[in-house]
Symmetry: C2
Subunit: 232 residues, 2 copies
Amino acid sequence: MSTRSSWTSIRDEIKRRVQAREVLPGDKLPNDQELAQEFGCARTTVQRAMQELAATGTVVRRRKGGTTVAAHPVTRTTFDIPITRLEVEALGQDYGYFLVSQGIEQISRSAAASFGLQDQPEMLHVRALHLAGNRPYIYEDRWISQETVPEILDVDLTRESANEWLILNRPYSDCEVRFLAKKATPQEAELLETEAGEALFVMERTTWSDSAPITRVRAIAAPGYQLTARAK
Amino acid sequence: MSTRSSWTSIRDEIKRRVQAREVLPGDKLPNDQELAQEFGCARTTVQRAMQELAATGTVVRRRKGGTTVAAHPVTRTTFDIPITRLEVEALGQDYGYFLVSQGIEQISRSAAASFGLQDQPEMLHVRALHLAGNRPYIYEDRWISQETVPEILDVDLTRESANEWLILNRPYSDCEVRFLAKKATPQEAELLETEAGEALFVMERTTWSDSAPITRVRAIAAPGYQLTARAK
DNA sequence: GAGATTTTTAAGCATGGACATAATAATTTG
DNA sequence: CAAATTATTATGTCCATGCTTAAAAATCTC
């Protein structure tokens, strides 16, 4: 054939057919073998292309069932949420960190819900502020399981942020992320140097280590914060 | 033991080392050949694992340069944004749609900025409300390029939502997504049946077809809306 | 010594064959 | 006839091998 077919070009061609509606949602595509013949390549190459398309939600693959065009086109978007310090430094600003409060308390009902727990055990409750160039950037309200992460009780959180300590010392296996908007409470407004009632962007993250709860954090961003991504 | 395939377990093991800081950002990893030896598998298998890690930003690969741990560890999260009707139906609620206004106007400066345009051409401006079980769900404020999508002018938008028509008839090649929080304006508050000043969650999407602008939509969600995803 | 050229290295890709696995279809059995 | 068993099919994964390609390193040239 003309050019050596690469798995990426097969991927792009199938994607084009889907986007150009040459095949419709729900339609069955030829099987890998047949596509390999059409493109004049090995089945492995088609397999690699289809694996990618399945991962991005363009097609659905089922053993024996074959490959079908996804029934409901979705916009699949990928966001990278970095460690707050690195995010600030990437903006070229000085990073600052400030512990607001810490203590052992019975977790809130909403935190229990995030963990999927029926009861409300005691956990370490940490509130801290991240600064970018001396301006408040993100206020975090965090619960840390003292049962899963007992070492956290020995960490001096006035110096080191729980955000960073946990990522360094307690890698998670699962993570649930939630985005929402909320009005600033008077306390949040004061810390973020804005008005009570201002609309704030909230990123809530809950992490587990093999189904054992690690932490639940509400990262409340200062006004103006935006999260951007390009979908492909 | 895990029943997972070996390339995924190699991927997970390398990821673990990165997250557990056994290798630090910027560190060079052994080359594929050496890793294959360590894991007792073929280089192809390591290649597949590393390809994935490179795609998700954990690692950076350069020919000849080898593989290095990405400078900034991130939580990479994937969201699927479906057609609004399907989202509502998936909640088990009745979907409703209501056109608020439409007309040809010069686009707003912020819309022009989203498209990356210097000037502010005229586009079709559509405002519509999506309902879930007779309650307002999402209010969308949309600009559609009459140049790229002239057929849109013939569509009866009182019956069919632009959201759906575009996704089904004008697939995009590029999409930029932005999440933010904003206070409800009086008009938005009225449509969403809430108070002016309420904190609202906004999803802004701009799409192109091969660098030709298609649409820019601000989807403003009713209070309480949350976007959830599991990161891996 | 600066600039151009060659060498070497490590990732990138393709192949064909083999076996595993899940889901469906066909067949047997009580 | 329904339930259990077996066969079939398409995807999933792995491997050994060989070639391609980008980029760094070494070498050569003026």
